[in-house]
């Protein structure tokens, strides 16, 4: 229905009033000549209907035969519009120019959508695309999605699957990252074996070794850098003599209680920026890199914060244009400062400590104890103390166990 209306409008049609004695005969003749009519409605002295412009010129013999009269009431459609505006040449040129610009803009990439990333930030992916000449404003024909996917996978091995597609002027980058840690027996490049060492001082509470030789047990105190699990496995024979030495990548779950120092400096003067309630809004239009802004807009505020809301223009869901509409709101601020009271200092210290503890918990450690004191230092304050946490202490390090240098030398000699 919509298509036929559009088609009729494109080819032009007229609304006709039919009067006379044998109007029904005229309609029957139209049917026999395969002339299509629509919106046929009865009027006081006949009928009115719409007919295509080309078919209207076939009416002359039918009108004679049926002794009726037709009168054009209304002309609609592109051919009549073109005839009416035939002298407006600049308008026609503008229309053609608009079509050409629109076509040219449809040949470039104007929007990039990234989905499925968690470790890799959008900035990193956009930088990669920019380096590969597949970024904002690049010609679509010059972008090879398949080779781009391959380069992406090679550049970021943690990405196990990536799909780069072009839809109109939009590029979608869908990826899946390997969120699991690398397998324990997966060989590290250029490393013969690895040890697990303590990242800081602490007391071991639990140790489960999967591969390697454990050098500590639960309850042992360890210091930072101490080897906890060696990647060197000694195999003894029946007489408990060293038969063979194997070198593996040490893997274990080691939990320890660690005491972490905590220091937080708090200024004795509280400076706050408070909104006064005054605000100003301006709108701007950005085409490519050129920003068209309101030349009469001025912010008389000495101190302010700005919130910008940007929307990209698009003709359809996949046809984005390099046109951005930005609405900026300036909020006036007033800076106030006063000497902090004891309660305020306590509240700030508690807030900062709570944030620090939340950060620690996010890293997967369990907080068992915390001792933090607030002391005054001249006009400022310092909150310091210690936080006892229970969590993973081991970090992977290249093998350093004694005697392995000989093995490494042997391996290199054999390789040579």
């Amino acid at each position: 229905m919509l298509f036929s209306s559009f088609w009729n409008y494109m080819r032009g049609y007229v609304k006709v009033e039919l009067t006379g004695a044998a109007t029904e005969r005229f309609l029957t003749l139209c049917r026999k000549r395969q002339i299509a009519l629509w919106n046929l409605t009865p009027e006081a002295c006949g009928y009115s209907f719409c007919v295509a412009k080309a078919d209207f010129f076939l009416f002359a013999p039918l009108v004679r035969k049926s002794r009726t009269r037709v009168r054009v009431v209304k002309r609609c459609g592109v051919p009549f519009l073109a005839h009416r505006y035939r002298k407006r040449k600049i308008f026609l040129c503008g229309l053609i120019l608009f079509g050409v610009v629109l076509y040219e803009l449809s040949c470039f990439l104007w929007h990039i959508e990234i989905r499925g990333n968690s470790y890799l930030s959008e900035e990193v992916i956009l930088d990669f695309l920019s380096e590969e000449n597949a970024s904002f404003g690049q010609r679509l024909g010059a972008i090879d999605c398949e080779s781009l996917e391959e380069t992406f996978r090679n550049a970021y091995p943690e990405v196990i699957w990536v799909s780069i597609q072009l839809y109109g002027t939009k590029m979608t980058v869908e990826l899946q990252e390997n969120l699991l840690l690398p397998a324990a027996n997966e060989p590290l490049p250029d490393v013969l074996y690895t040890d697990l060492v303590a990242s800081c001082d602490g007391v071991i509470t639990d140790i489960i070794t999967r591969s390697g030789t454990p050098l500590v047990k639960a309850g042992d105190e360890v210091s930072a850098g101490q080897i906890l699990v060696s990647g060197c496995i000694s195999i003894l024979d029946d007489e408990e003599q060293l038969k063979e030495t194997m070198y593996v990548r040490a893997d274990a779950d080691i939990t320890a209680e660690m005491i972490l120092p905590y220091v937080d400096y708090i200024s004795g003067e509280i400076v706050q920026d408070v909104r006064t309630g005054q605000e100003k809004t301006t709108r701007s239009l950005t085409f490519l890199e050129q920003e068209l802004f309101d030349p009469f807009f001025q912010t008389s505020y000495e101190l302010y914060e700005v919130y910008a809301d940007t929307v990209q223009a698009r003709l359809s869901s996949n046809f984005y244009l390099p046109v951005f509409y930005t609405k900026k709101t300036y909020y006036e601020l007033q800076r106030t400062s006063h000497i902090a009271t004891a309660d305020e200092i306590r509240a700030i210290a508690a807030k900062n400590l709570g944030k620090h503890l939340a950060d620690l918990e996010e890293k997967g450690v369990q907080i068992t104890e915390k001792h933090v004191m607030i002391e005054k230092m001249d006009s400022d304050y310092i909150a310091q103390g210690s936080i006892t946490v229970r969590g993973t202490i081991a970090i992977e390090a290249n093998g350093k166990t004694e005697g392995t240098d000989d093995i490494l030398d042997d391996t290199q000699a054999r390789g040579a």
């Binding site: 029904e24 029957t28 049917r31 026999k32 299509a36 009519l37 629509w38 046929l40 409605t41």
Partner: protein
Amino acid sequence: MRKNKRNHRLSYEPTLRESVVDHLDLPKDLMLGDSILKIAGNREIYITNYLGILGYERESILLQAKHGRIHIAGTYLVIASYSGDEMKIQGCVQTISFEM
């Protein structure tokens, strides 16, 4: 003459042509020239195989078919499209009757 006779019979008895078409399961609109009416609720009627318009008002439309007339009664009736093959009637249709 035969057609008139048949139309005035009290009981319906198919002609030989009708029986053959019926038994061979052939399309009746092509073989017998019957009109086809497709009705969408009481809002739209699509009619094919009609011969012409005999009368057209807002409340009733009278069409000539090969085997009689089709009378459509209703309110706000409009012929939305009219071509050699098909006619589309829109409006609030109340009754459709066939006059032999």
